[in-house]
């Protein structure tokens, strides 16, 4: 995993079908993600809603749905952490968020990745950075540790 990609894994004590619904039903997604969406997720279309997080209710949430492979993969592109009204995020290349579901004895293993922070997804580059620059190695490792925490 490069440090220009976020990856998280979490075990959920619920069947894959339950997790799939929580991810892709726009009302359920909105409850835990804290956004009030205007309508269902449709691949290729922009999902729009109002953020319901206290203090951020004035902000609009936007994401373009990419893949919806039932019980397996849900993905969208968006501009992460776009909460500063002074910044025009539309000029920045969006990142890709992917939720992957896998059945395990305990329920569901959910893997979340967010990639494309550099526009060109090539994850080798940060491994190269770790090799080449001793001064930053520890801090980059700290990120990886932080990023790979599971819950």
């Amino acid at each position: 995993m490069g440090s220009d990609q976020i990856e998280k894994r979490i075990e959920l004590k619920a069947p894959v079908s339950r997790v799939w619904r929580a991810l892709t039903d726009y009302r359920e997604f909105g409850e835990w993600f804290r956004v009030k969406l205007e309508g269902p997720f449709v691949p290729g279309q922009v999902a729009i809603g109002k953020i319901t997080w206290p203090g951020y209710e004035h902000l609009t949430w936007r994401a373009t749905v990419q893949a919806m492979e039932p019980q397996h993969l849900f993905s969208f592109t968006w501009h992460p952490y776009s909460v500063d009204p002074a910044i025009d995020y539309s000029t920045e290349t969006p990142t890709l968020v992917e939720f992957r579901l896998e059945e395990i004895p305990q329920g569901t293993l959910l893997t979340l990745t967010e990639s494309g922070f550099d526009k060109i997804p090539e994850h080798r580059r940060n491994e190269a950075f770790l090799r080449n620059d001793g001064g930053w190695t520890q801090q980059m490792k700290n990120i990886e540790t932080h990023v790979s925490e599971t819950s």
């Binding site: 220009d4 976020i6 835990w32 993600f33 290349t93 979340l112 940060n126 620059d133």
Partner: protein, 117 residues
């Protein structure tokens, strides 16, 4: 070189992609490793011992300069390049914030699906 290129880090636009992209090349990483030792270097010094031409090194330095990771400082007749850690600190900070948000969101998702079968 130009005055614009020497503008202060405080004035820099908040843009992360150029920083990530600038770090995505072995030659530039090697240049950064050298410059991050703290000593300013000229293009000649940076070209010395490299298989690349002066023109190629210059091109890579410009990419780093546009991302704000190095700055050119005029000293006499030549330009010296120095390392600036701020943009890299900023992108690390940015990833940490996004990462923390995902931790919170996934934790809410976990409670949600486990409490409501």
């Amino acid at each position: 070189m130009s005055q614009k290129r020497r503008s202060s880090t405080a004035a820099r636009r908040f843009a992360h992609a150029p920083v990530f992209a600038a770090l995505g090349d072995e030659t530039r990483l090697a240049l950064l490793a050298r410059l991050s030792e703290g000593r300013r270097c000229s293009i000649s010094q940076l070209t010395h011992g490299s298989k690349l031409t002066r023109q190629a090194i210059t091109k890579h330095l410009r990419v780093l300069e546009r991302a704000g990771i190095v700055h050119a400082v005029r000293e006499g007749r030549e330009s010296l390049f120095e390392f600036d850690s701020v943009p890299i600190e900023e992108v690390k900070d940015y990833l940490n914030r996004i990462s923390a948000q995902w931790d919170q969101a996934l934790s809410r998702l976990k409670s949600f699906v486990e409490a409501r079968p």
